[in-house]
């Protein structure tokens, strides 16, 4: 029971385990970077998606980002409270909220996007650009559950 920094351990060779560890590190890097701007990961993701999709319902945001509707309510609440998005009733469908990014939101998004990109660069710092492309391509093929 000496030091044994880390045994090979059958578990640690499984894709599912490695994915879990790598995802945890990625999450930590990105979350820490965004925290410098007072932003949380899911909030940034939603803000980014709203910025791209234009006025969009919460349900569709949840679908594209795979965020639980329960959590989406809280996230949009926060973003709205901070003046980063607006939430107005959709005139065409009174069930929906049309969520739209504000000018402040766009300014904030520019900075958080930068931070997120930097964190991802750090995450893949040991990889060549080609290897990072490979990784992204492989992940894309196993990440999708069904859809």
């Amino acid at each position: 029971m000496a030091d044994t920094p880390y045994a090979p351990s059958r578990i640690r060779a499984l894709p599912s385990w490695l994915l879990g560890r790598a995802a945890a590190r990625g999450h930590r890097l990105v979350a820490d970077a965004l925290a410098a701007e007072g932003m949380r990961m899911m909030h940034h993701a939603v803000l980014s998606a709203v910025g791209e999709l234009g006025p969009v319902s919460q349900a569709e945001l949840g679908r594209t980002l795979r965020i639980d509707p329960k959590d989406m309510v809280a996230i949009v609440n926060d973003l709205q409270r901070d003046g980063l998005v607006t939430r107005t009733p959709d005139p065409h469908d009174r069930r929906k909220n049309a969520v739209e990014i504000s000018a402040d939101g766009r300014r904030r998004l520019r900075r958080t996007q930068q931070l997120g990109d930097e964190a991802n660069a750090e995450l893949t710092a040991d990889l060549t650009p080609a290897e990072r492309e490979q990784l992204v391509a492989l992940l894309t093929r196993i990440a999708l559950p069904e859809e």
Copy 2:
């Protein structure tokens, strides 16, 4: 706001995001498979590590598997209650528990290992064996935080 199955969405191209999605799917597949044998993921990981490392302290288990000591207590409690591991005081260091796999534990481990491998095969079903090797190699290089 039509159907728009899934927009490209800048976020979804980031390694950190893809890792999160892929890890979530892997976790779901493995956890569901192990549930058929009444085993949970972390429990299986600990049981597997104990099986490989022989008598080992909880602290070292936590180090190799990156499991919080708090959670480790609960996991070893469960495994011990189910008769899969024994927890005896280490004669050389009275602070430590020597955790060791039992005969029942080894039998159970064989089945859960099989289930875990199958779930990982399903996770990487769209990849060729060579691609799976690539993925594992790339993940190994970005998964380690420091050490």
